[in-house]
Symmetry: C2
Amino acid sequence: MSSKRFFQSKLFLFVAVAVLAAALVVVIGPKADTSAQGDPLDWQTIAEERGLTDADLRAAVMTYMPSGQLDEYVMFASGGHSGQVFAIGLPSMRLLRTIAVFTPEPWQGYGYGAGEEVLAGGNMLDGQEVRWADTHHPALSETNGDYDGQWLFINDKANARVAVIDLRDFETKQIVKNPLYLNDHGGTKVTPNTEYIIEPGQYGMPLGNEFAPLSDYEEAYRGMITFWKFDREAGRIDQSRSFAIELPPYWQDLCDAGKLVSDGWVFCNSFNTELALGGIEEGNPPFEAGVSQNTTDFLHIINWRAAEEVFLAGDTVEINGMQVITLDTAIENNLLFFTPEPRSPHGADVAPYGDFIIVSGKLDPHVTIYSFQKIMDAIEAGVEETDQYGVPIISMEDSVEAQVELGLGPLHTEFDNQGYAYTSLFLDTAVARWSLGGENYRPEDGWTLQGTIPVQYNVGHIAAAEGDTVDPDGGYLVSLNKWSVDRFLSTGPLLPQNLQLVDISQGGDSMQVLYDMPLTAGEPHYAQIIKADKLNPWDVYPEIGWDPVTQSVSPDAVEPGEEGVFRDGNNVTVRMTAVRSHFTPERVEIRKGDRVTWTITNIERARDATHGFALPYYNINLSLEPGESITFEFEATRDGVFSYYCTEFCSALHLEMMGYMTVQP
Amino acid sequence: MSSKRFFQSKLFLFVAVAVLAAALVVVIGPKADTSAQGDPLDWQTIAEERGLTDADLRAAVMTYMPSGQLDEYVMFASGGHSGQVFAIGLPSMRLLRTIAVFTPEPWQGYGYGAGEEVLAGGNMLDGQEVRWADTHHPALSETNGDYDGQWLFINDKANARVAVIDLRDFETKQIVKNPLYLNDHGGTKVTPNTEYIIEPGQYGMPLGNEFAPLSDYEEAYRGMITFWKFDREAGRIDQSRSFAIELPPYWQDLCDAGKLVSDGWVFCNSFNTELALGGIEEGNPPFEAGVSQNTTDFLHIINWRAAEEVFLAGDTVEINGMQVITLDTAIENNLLFFTPEPRSPHGADVAPYGDFIIVSGKLDPHVTIYSFQKIMDAIEAGVEETDQYGVPIISMEDSVEAQVELGLGPLHTEFDNQGYAYTSLFLDTAVARWSLGGENYRPEDGWTLQGTIPVQYNVGHIAAAEGDTVDPDGGYLVSLNKWSVDRFLSTGPLLPQNLQLVDISQGGDSMQVLYDMPLTAGEPHYAQIIKADKLNPWDVYPEIGWDPVTQSVSPDAVEPGEEGVFRDGNNVTVRMTAVRSHFTPERVEIRKGDRVTWTITNIERARDATHGFALPYYNINLSLEPGESITFEFEATRDGVFSYYCTEFCSALHLEMMGYMTVQP
């Protein structure tokens, strides 16, 4: 506010009253006691001692969550090569929950006696176990193009997999392996009513992961995009109702689904139309140069609703059990069009009204804005030119609405509720705000840069509050920075990422960095930010004996009174309950060579009354949330005495919540 | 401060100047522009909008770290059953670094092609792989009883293992398996010059993990305490110079090393002197009741320096390669004494001057303070009474200095620089401050409760700034709460822990909770807080080609110009460098069945210029920090095309930092 407005404000009143009160104290004498809240201005001394500026103070007040107060938003961030997903509260930037997805995690018991069948879904086609991932793009489920708070999806770039997370308990329910590919990138995104989860490939390879020499790249290697059908009722991806489209072996990159006027379409940027093969060791240009030679690559424009009809009509080929629409069929049926996109393209982001698609070029200081209407008009008018694989190419003259010069290294674009777009600038390590000139946004400003704000350092994606939906919230934006360098105390050569909260609530060039949050995990590639009140997680599992994988009562659940150790030859069944502060039974006496099936049911109903269960030597640790029932199996290959115990500090006598498994030789 | 002091303070001056300045603005007219820092008091409006109290504001200012400002302390917290360790900045309560210790973690490449030999050190004696842990008590290395910032140790309760972390790069260098036991608890603690790392067992079992039926508990089961020798020069635990002491099969619990006057001794509380065996399923009292029947258990008083002499003299037996001083030898050599400790004892914490040992009783509202001098006098005078195993028992009359009633469920005690002790109260979910009455502390206050502060909820350990050293700092204390319940946005039935920062800088009953930090991992059992300036981590590895396991240049490191793929029969050697933004070579063409040895050297020298390396299908992901060199091996069991790439976003052309491994059938 201006100085004049300050003087007129209630703050002036506050200051004036404080001075008057202080003067009064002198006249009347000191009060006997300070209030329970402490001296009303003592914080200022502390601020001075700590060298905080007024801007720091504002930021502190905006991001600080007083003890017991709750955040307004939850940001779901990919955990990059940690293989996990992180739920972070905004504006406090507190890490609320790590969700184990592709990587085993013992606190959650995931992969340590529980969740084994979920993880096994991510095995390679021949059964090879891969127990990490490079998670990239989380996608919240949508209804009518808006987040509905029910499901979260995330892809694994390294091994081309997709996971399904249930937001009732923030746990992973399914992992599927793409049978065509060994890498992906631009997924996951969802169509506006979560009909499909979109997973495009990244680096060209033979479909089905067959061998072909690099010298056969042009003929034998291909790109692809997979549409995974999501069955909301079952809460599962249904591969039998999913399909893929064969694409030229350009490197498809990032996709976004059309919405509202462009519903039914999907848009993906690509690069390496050069079909470069690298080989720096042989004197060739390295990939980084070879794939960036062309002035333009191709924005892929895909009619997924028409593709779905082709798939349902059976006009596909099957590769490793996946139905694939061939490139020729796609072209014949007008499913696929190209339009050029400038130098080293990255990102394809659909504006809130679905009317524009924004593409960045890493080596171009502009963003390029494509008009969906122009593209439709061009297709309607007929497209003559094709690429070498026969895909029709719409000229830029016929597709581009505008270009805006933003700065160096533009990457990704998100939106707010004031008609602004925000684009990350990697080389400038900054975030640019610019106005969308279309009639739905800020026609008065036109397509113009409004301002930039430096971030620290090397921003990749950005995420704005509900910023890729049909109804963005504005207010907050998070810059997902890849390098932190000197922003935090040093922790040796490996440093955390730096997530910076940016205030975008005011217009023009008024953005402000509020807070730096270190994230000590793989780079949080992309994130989505949802209003907290759209989430409705369970406090405890709905019924005692709950199996979180099936989300129903387990037929094996143990009821109090029926616990025991039961033997049938070498098959031993242990039926156990857990409640503060004991397991029943407390002694499990078995023999070496026994095949053990062990069920534990946590019969607690109090929120947070989770029990752990550790069994030494056998690599078992379970997390039994209130009501949960888990069954695990092992062979008693080793004799001795094994003390099992509760690993979740549950009561004053938690240390005594244990038992002995003795294994007789 | 009092109102009078406020009036005399510079704050009054600040307020007065502000009012004068505002008045001046009105007289002179508004300035053209507000400062870059924004309006100097606008934060107050925001605070009002957010419903913050003055206490909240103070806390915000104390805990908020402005963008780019660094913390004063680092807290190393165990990660509980996550198996990891967390480094957290104070006062911001930011999670700065997850240190992978017992559990594989792909962001750090740990267990995904690197660190395999470190993890293998934690295998069970027969080679069984256990890839998680229940980390309990981190211990920073000490010199003269004070943290020296060089090493960190941590134990695994579930499987009786100890890990060594080097604080130059915050990475785990060694895991050792205790050959006597399958569980531990009260370790790690170090002796005052880190001569030994102390690891006591927890639940009684036959030494060496032999089988014995529970009916033989009294004769065949034993307790133990292990003294692991730490070789600072080598940076490794040396088992050949380590020893253990056989103890009665009570459940030894938490140990602390004596210091200054009590240097050379170690003190451990214990429980289950009842030798209870549980068996609720047979109508017996469950363990939680059975082990709490006796009015007192035994504080163990161990002369480790005399024990070391017995060990060096060879008066030991060997069990699974560990030298063990038998219980009889320990008694004969006056290495072990008992003194009673009240109901359900927990914790044994030595005061800063080494003169007192504080023990809590979970079912006793008091803490009991033992005098080291009294204990020495009693031993000198001769001890007649023994327990059933022949261990001499010093009476409480001869050992206790004082008892202080604090509240319900006292657990653990830490210290500050003003002569106060702090004890967690589990059942009251509070932290008590009380005065140490000895001549070195606050003789004017005597042994008296000063006040308590509620925490949320179910506190276990607490950690004060350097609060278990000979020179505590005061100022901050962290309450490590096990339940968070309603303190954060719900994330389903599994909730984070809650670490609360408490201001203890003022005396008396003036403690204040400043901040709630959710920790989304296993319960952070215990923590130590060290001054940040005592740590000297490397910015990058000292030389190119560094092997972080040996902390020296690897003989296999690859220099630029010598990269390539080399074949010798079926043995293929890949020698590769990584630098922004390419790997050399970019093509690795091999054959199915090849045995591959692959070395990658990151030749970067810029801080934070880490490269990842993902190889699909083969479960490989490396983190190559600047200068680091890693070698991994695999057999090419599968033909096809495998796109390897950099997983750490390193530059604008990071996406192009890739290559193809083709495996011919």
